[in-house]
């Protein structure tokens, strides 16, 4: 346990021999004096001490961390460069009892993976992140990292890291400190035995937090890379202790005791629905019976057009729902996107006795126009003998085509008289279905509740259907 004399020999959570590296292999791939071996031993000891070997899933992303799966006798996932926090999110949200460790270097976490670490931290994913900061890209042979000190020569800064060109070294613990969700943030070092003990404690704490489901824990560990620093292992540790800690001050940044499940703004987790309840949820209320008596005289290729907000799309949905409820083949295809926002909208609906081929209605045999521009746009496209319904409350001009049947109906006025400001679409659909005899009025009334969003207006909508019928009769249209 913490404070006791360090154990000798291999931790149980390491493999006895590293068969994934090579047959009978006993040594790691780390260079002499590298900090990774030391840190990984500390983590392995903590896994042993906390008795979480079976539960642990260790993520090895890209960099010198890539071969951690050679050594850890735990569940292992190798993942792509920088993305371990996203992978960890996927794992943890699937197996909530697993102890997920994201072990990342500085290029991986602070360079290419900056987005993933920041957002995983911000969501407070209850995982443990060990960030190994050795201020260089090790695996690729010694290029500049986001954490490389100013002036430091690397393969890609042969004249030294330049502030104007390369920016300042990145302090990740400080950056984490700016995010509200993490429960534990600490920066430590493996430069001296004294610091090593603190690191050991921080590693332990960060894993204990995950066992207790407290939240996101982040431990930044300064680590030597003698090979790529061009130093002896001893000099590297001295440089770390005397210079690197000036740039990256050690210490605990946050140790919050707030339990994750006590945080404000949390929602209760919804219950897992069994098969029956799931099917009920998916089938919903629109599961309507099939009861058509008569064949459709002609495939209905309907175009409905008007201003956005006039209920053009829901008019189409109502027609399609009526068709479906009578067992017809139907399709509904809207105009959409920027074209629709604030501008004009149109929808194509097909009702047919046979399978619908193209759902695009290029040449409608039924046109419902709710405003003037729609009449201008679609008048020429309708086929001969088409039915053209015009909302005469809004459209001031007459239809020019003489080879179509035109019905003018003051739809907006009739709707407003019925106390409904936006139900002109119901008037138009009612007129169409009555005159075309495509769908009986009873079916229409049965389908209105399935499409209507504001259930409080149901009665008014149903009486508007009646009112429309009376209007058509009074004017000799039916």
């Amino acid at each position: 346990m913490i404070g006791q004399v360090q154990k000798f020999g291999k931790s149980d959570s390491f493999y006895d021999t590293y068969e994934r590296k090579g047959e009978g292999e006993q040594s790691t791939h780390y260079c002499p004096g590298c900090g990774h071996g030391t840190i990984q031993k500390l983590i392995a000891q903590a896994i042993d001490d906390l008795k979480i070997q079976d539960r642990t899933i260790f993520l090895s992303p890209v960099g010198c961390s890539v071969f951690a799966y050679y050594y850890y006798d735990t569940g292992n996932i190798q993942c792509s460069h920088g993305r371990a926090p996203a992978v960890a999110t996927g794992v943890k949200r699937t197996v909530k009892d697993a102890i997920v460790i994201s072990y990342q270097g500085d290029g991986d976490l602070a360079g290419i993976g900056m987005t993933e670490i920041v957002h995983a931290a911000n969501r407070g994913e209850p995982i443990t992140v060990f960030f190994i900061n050795n201020a260089i890209y090790g695996m690729t042979g010694g290029q500049m990292a986001p954490t490389t000190p100013l002036g430091r020569k690397t393969l890609t800064t042969p004249f030294g890291r330049d502030r104007d060109r390369d920016g300042m070294p990145m302090g990740m613990a400080e950056l984490m400190q700016a995010i509200a969700a993490p429960v534990f943030i600490e920066r430590c070092s493996v430069a001296t035995p004294k610091e090593l003990l603190k690191t050991r404690k921080a590693v332990h704490k960060a894993l204990q937090n995950q066992i207790d489901n407290k939240g996101f824990s982040f431990v930044e560990i300064l680590s030597p890379c003698p090979t790529n620093w061009g130093m002896s292992p001893v000099d590297a540790r001295t440089w770390m202790d005397q210079q690197m800690t000036l740039l990256y001050p050690l210490g605990n940044f946050r140790d919050s005791v707030t339990k994750q499940d006590d945080r404000p703004g949390d929602q209760e987790e919804p219950l897992w629905l069994d098969d029956e309840a799931l099917v009920d949820l998916l089938k919903g209320a629109s599961d309507v019976p099939v009861m058509r008596m008569e064949p459709l005289s002609e495939t209905q290729r309907v175009k409905i057009a008007g201003f956005g907000g006039q209920g053009v799309l829901s008019a189409g949905e109502l027609v399609a729902t009526c068709g479906m409820s009578e067992g017809l083949a139907v399709s509904w295809l809207p105009s959409y996107g920027p074209e629709m926002r604030g501008g004009s909208a149109n929808v194509s609906v097909t009702l047919s006795m046979e399978d619908v081929g193209s759902p695009l209605v290029d040449h409608p045999n039924v046109l419902l126009v709710m405003n003037g521009p729609s009449l201008d746009h679609f008048e020429d496209q309708v086929v001969e003998n088409a039915l053209v319904f015009v909302n005469s409350s809004i459209v001031t001009r007459k239809v020019r085509r003489t080879d179509v049947r035109t019905i003018y109906i003051p739809a907006t006025d009739l709707a407003q008289e019925a106390g409904l400001v936006s139900a002109a679409n119901v008037v138009m659909v009612t007129a169409y279905l009555l005159l075309s005899k495509a769908i009986p009025l009873d079916t229409l009334k049965r389908c209105i509740p399935l499409v209507l969003r504001k259930k409080a207006f149901l009665e008014k909508n149903l009486s508007l259907v009646e009112r429309t019928m009376v209007y058509l009769q009074e004017n000799g249209m039916v």
Binding site: R83, V91, E116, L278, V288, L360
Partner: protein, 356 residues
């Protein structure tokens, strides 16, 4: 059994839940956002997991993590988002992780626009990311097929340990049609290779890395072996009015629906047009194309791209017959009338060429 009128986008989410999907990770993009929105509602209401990620890069890596832990996982996006997922898709293939991805194709390249194209064909069908790999690719042409194919995709993904794409388009996603929610609810089984954070799975490793060329070669050969098996077992297509064909449209997605109407229009004019509609484009129905080609029946590929699938048709036809290409790009779709006149024109040309 009753049906519900719903969009293809919504039908996909219904199909996913009926297919046993437990985890949906999404990022908004038109015209696929409605899938994430429907998933946000239905997955959450059903006690499954929906999470909006910070980018498509994160999305695909969350899929990687959840699939590693044995879950049935999915996402949905459109061209620019799928392109961002390229590396992750390659990792999924390399690590043999099952996943389901919907691509609601929009027009490109670059930002393009949000109207339908079929220009992601090469990116999706030929892999898209680095390395030698393939994705099973299903091509629905109705809201019902958005439901059926998505449900089935999870079984295929688990069976072959592959990514299964639903390659669709903005119109199929936006269109509402009656959909039958047919059961039963499927469920993923415990996978002996996954990592669950327990003692039975402790020795498992999810990885795509083999340091020795010999092992990496073996891994690649095993993957290719799986793809050959998929070609034998998964290929699917519909032949419509093909018994007496004098010309055969080849089309998928929304274009297949337009061709369906064009077949009728041409037959009314005495031209025996037919339709071959691939329901899978990897595996591609090579044999049926080859069969038409050997019988000398001309093929007319109708596609919203520069001819990406048409290249696969030409490859299968192998020079045995004329492969006509009716291609539209930018978000427009051909009309039935345009297809009818193109076929009339080209059949006349072919006829006079043969008789001369």
């Amino acid at each position: 059994m009753g049906k519900r009128l719903m969009k293809g986008n919504e039908a996909a989410v219904h199909g996913a839940l009926m297919g046993g999907c437990t985890h949906f990770f999404g990022y908004p993009i038109t015209p696929a956002s409605e899938i994430s929105q429907a998933a946000a509602y239905y997955f959450t209401a059903a006690g499954r997991t929906f999470l909006q990620a910070e980018s498509e890069v994160s999305v695909i890596n969350m899929l990687y993590g959840a699939a590693s832990a044995g879950a049935r996982v999915m996402t949905a996006s459109s061209g620019p988002g799928i392109a961002l997922m390229g590396e992750g898709l390659s990792y999924l293939a390399g690590a043999k992780l099952p996943s389901v991805v919907i691509d609601m194709q929009r027009a490109g390249p670059g930002l393009g626009n949000i109207w339908p194209e079929q220009s992601d064909y090469n990116m999706v069908v030929k892999g898209g990311g680095h390395g030698n790999y393939s994705n099973i690719t299903l091509t629905p042409a109705s809201a019902q097929e958005m439901f059926d194919f998505t449900r089935k995709a999870f079984e295929l993904a688990d069976r072959y340990r592959m990514t299964v794409f639903i390659l669709s388009d903005a119109y199929i996603g936006q269109m509402m049609e009656p959909v039958e929610i047919s059961g039963p609810v499927l469920h993923g089984q415990r996978k002996d290779w996954a990592v669950y954070g327990d003692s039975q799975s402790r020795k498992n490793l999810i990885s795509s890395i083999y340091m020795s060329p010999a092992l990496q070669r073996k891994h690649n050969e095993e993957l290719q072996q799986t793809y050959r098996q998929v070609e034998q077992e998964v290929v699917d297509y519909e032949l419509y009015m093909a018994d007496d064909a004098e010309i055969v449209f080849v089309a998928y997605g929304i274009v297949a629906r337009i061709c369906h109407s064009a077949v009728h229009a041409l037959r009314e004019q005495g031209i025996r047009a037919s339709l071959l509609r691939p329901k899978t484009v990897f595996p591609f129905p090579k044999n049926v194309v080859e069969d038409f080609a050997k019988r000398g029946i001309p093929l007319a590929v109708v596609e919203l791209s520069s001819g990406q699938m048409a290249d696969d048709v030409s490859l299968a036809a192998n020079g045995n017959v004329e492969v006509l290409r009716y291609l539209t790009m930018g978000g427009e779709t051909p009309t039935v009338a345009e297809l009818v006149s193109s076929v009339r024109r080209d059949l006349a040309t072919l006829g006079s060429r043969r008789s001369s």
